[in-house]
Each structure stands twice: as structure tokens, then as C-alpha cells.
């Protein structure tokens, strides 16, 4: 990854914020950072993150592999830039008069949608606290929606981390299961049924009575009226309930 440079900021951060003085000395540049990131996103969207190699991206951008390194210090930095580009700007403020809970809920759902559009990017590793432009903007937006809670900054920051973390990991879980399903060439329904079968086989021994009961209940083999999105909403509401309890406790 791009090391510290003189200015104190990591290289990819400066790139993302568009700092970085590029004096016009040599030949004109034929590519652009934005173009490269977009090419990388095209590759990722079409073939998944594992297909995002420097040579593949270079081909997509219409240049040689090594040309990319004139724009990006390393592949890791490119991935970080992809992440922020995909995130995009946060949603605008909620309707006036919206309570903090509903506002936060909207926020989480918006994030879920953004991630849902490019779930392949979820495997890009997080390398530090949020410093990229869009990421910072989302933080700001989230904090603003928590104004009505009356909580101090530290607690609000913790809550925001908790909420975005939840959205992220749930989306990752859903995506992992879906891609595993796709890789096995089955339908969701088929996977659920198979899971029930495996669990049934595995719980035969008499240990695992709880699981055995669930299998016997045919929770997996019945047609699934419980989609992953339902699971997401369940957890989200649960989390918001927890936040609400805290807010009420602090307010009293």
C-alpha cells in the first residue's frame, strides 16, 4: 500500500481528495485516475473481485499493465479508491420532522442499497479508519441524523460504527451465501433443502436436540417466505430497538 509521504497523509487519500500537484512537465497523460477506477469497477462488476487484476484493469482501460502504476501506488490503493467511488455521495437529509429513528433507518437502508449494487466489492479489505471523501461524507450525514438523540459525540460515533458495521456484515453474509449458491449451481430453495438434509444427517447422533427439533419442524424444507432482505430488516429493527433503549435511558 502507499506509504506515508511528506505531507503526512497516505498516498491514496491524497489521490482520492484530488490533492497531489501534477506539474506539467513530461508528456500529456493518456489515462486518468477516474478512468482507471471506473475500468476496474467495470471489471469487478462483470467478473467479480478476483478478476480485478492489474493486467485485466489495464486492458480494460486500454493501456499496458505498468502504465497503471503511474497513477496508483499499488493495487491496494486502487482497491481503496474503488470502494469510495462505489460508495458515492450519501443521501440527502430526511424529510423535515422525521424522527431520529426513522432517519437512521433510511440511512441504513440507503447504505444497504448502495452495497447491494456492488456486493463483490465487500471483500476489499478495510485498511484503516474512514478517511476517503465519500466515506467521510456518509459519516457526516449519519451523525447529522442522530442530532435528535441528544447523545454526546462519542456515543453517536459508536452508534454509527455499529450501524454501518451491521449493514456491511449482513450484506457480506448475504452475498457470500448467494455466491456460494450460484457457484454450486443451485437455487436458494435447493440450498435450504440441502442444508436441512445435511443438518438432519449430522444431528442424527442424539447430540444437538435443539437443531434436531428445528430440522423436524421442517424450517428449511418449507417454501421460504423468509428472504435475506427480511433477515436484514429483522436485525436492523433489533439494533434500532437497542439504540432507542439507550437514548431513552440517557434522556431520563
Amino acid at each position: 500500500m502507499g506509504e506515508e509521504n511528506g505531507g503526512g497523509l497516505p498516498e491514496s487519500v491524497e489521490l482520492a481528495w484530488g490533492l497531489r500537484d501534477r506539474p506539467g512537465k513530461g508528456p500529456k497523460r493518456t489515462l486518468s485516475l477516474k478512468g482507471i477506477v471506473e475500468a476496474a469497477i467495470r471489471v469487478g462488476a462483470a467478473e467479480g473481485l478476483e478478476a480485478v487484476s492489474m493486467s485485466r484493469v489495464a486492458a480494460e482501460a486500454g493501456a499496458s499493465t505498468m502504465a497503471l502504476y503511474r497513477y496508483v501506488p499499488s493495487k491496494g490503493d486502487l482497491l481503496t479508491l474503488i470502494l469510495d467511488e462505489l460508495l458515492g455521495p450519501p443521501p440527502g437529509p430526511p424529510e423535515p420532522g422525521t424522527g431520529w429513528r426513522e432517519a437512521l433507518r433510511e440511512f441504513a437502508v440507503a447504505l444497504r442499497e448502495v452495497i447491494g449494487r456492488h456486493p463483490w466489492a465487500l471483500s476489499i479489505p478495510i485498511t484503516g479508519p474512514p478517511v476517503m471523501p465519500n466515506n467521510v461524507a456518509w459519516m457526516e450525514a449519519g451523525l447529522r441524523r442522530m442530532r435528535g438523540t441528544g447523545l454526546d459525540s462519542g456515543t453517536r460515533l459508536s452508534m454509527l460504527t455499529l450501524l454501518t458495521g451491521y449493514v456491511r456484515f449482513t450484506a457480506a453474509l448475504i452475498h457470500d451465501l448467494e455466491s456460494a449458491t450460484r457457484a454450486a449451481g443451485k437455487t436458494d430453495q435447493q440450498v435450504a433443502v440441502d442444508y436441512g438434509t445435511v443438518l438432519a444427517a449430522v444431528t442424527e447422533g442424539g447430540d444437538f436436540p435443539e437443531l434436531r427439533a428445528i430440522v423436524a419442524e421442517q424450517l428449511f424444507t418449507r417454501p421460504g417466505d423468509d428472504t435475506p432482505e427480511d433477515e436484514f430488516e429483522f436485525g436492523l429493527d433489533c439494533l434500532l430497538d437497542g439504540l432507542e433503549a439507550r437514548v431513552r435511558r440517557a434522556g431520563g
Copy 2:
């Protein structure tokens, strides 16, 4: 990854559960699956997941690279086996008379500790629903601790997924930040201060008033009495509050 075989179970699952008939035809085996997994864990613990390559593991186990493929269908399957080995058996039942909330809390903390002992393994991708032996045992233990809630199986399963997911993703977040800190050769304190500096620089423009206020509050530059573990506890209690609200609502 190991494909389906005749029996219907993925290969790594059969391996983990110790099914798999190995008739004694050829030469005696010089290695063992357990030994290989343990060698891999030694490598991972010492040098991180990225160092866990087939050749490195083979060297650690005292064999050639290709010998491993006589025991494991692919690297992916080896990683899955590592994950379950590290998980180990779940904690025993709580003290008699313990309420469901405290029981679940203990459960989560136990999971956090197990993960905390080998955080490098968190980057191993999840490839499907939980079917490995220890994973299934943890599920069973978790479900049992929710007996007192009086909720139906589906809801309890959702809650368990939520809780274990939370522990996992929080641990991952903490570990990512810590390893980023270590990679940059700084202390936690230094990173926090630097983060404050970056945020200050970035929020200079007048957008981001919320963040600006936080920076001005010196939330980052003050000596950190708020450890990552505190953050973990915060989120955990928040989640349990949410669960409790649901249980109470269902009970009434």
C-alpha cells in the same frame, strides 16, 4: 473448493466430520489431516493468513507441496477446516438459574475470546451455511441458551445469526484497524491523533460541521480511555437491549 461427491456432502464437510473411508491399500500415510491443519494454523498464527500458502504449510508439516493434495481437495477446503479447528468446542451450559440475556452475553463473550486468539483467521471467506462440526455445536449451544426467551425456532435462529455475526464483524473491524496500526509502525494513540489531524485537514472546507465539532472537541487527541473492547461491549449491550425488547414484546 471440493465439489459435491456421491454422498451429497461437500468433501471438506465429510473430512471434518471424519467420514471418508480410507482403505489401506497403498503405502502408509506419513501425514494426517489434523497435522496439516495444525501446521497451517502455526503458520497463520506466526505470520498471518497471507503467509498460509500450500508450499509454506507443506514445509511446516515436513512434506512437499503436492503431498497436501492427498489430504485436502483444495486450499479453500483447508481454510474451511482451519476455521472450524480454531473455533473449537463451545462453552458448556451457564450456571443454573442464569437468565437468557446473561447466558447469551456469556456466549458472545466466549466467542469473542476464541476469535481474539486467532484474529488473522477472520479473513477466511465463508462459503456457505454452517455445517462444520464445531460450528454446528456452537449453534446448538447458542440455541439452547435462548430456551428461556419462549420464541419460535425461526426467530431464535435469526437472533443467533445476528449475534454471532455481530461478534465476528466487530472482531474483524478491531483486527483490521490494529493490523493497519502495526503495519504503519504506530501506537493506537498515535493513530488516533493522526486520524484527528487528517479529519481536521479534510473538514476544513466548512462542509462536515458535525465532524468538525467532534474534531474540535478533541475526541481523538485526548488520551483514549475508550478501548476497542469497550466498543465491543457497547455494541453487544445495545444488541441485547434490542433482543430483550423483542422478547418482551412477544411475551406480552
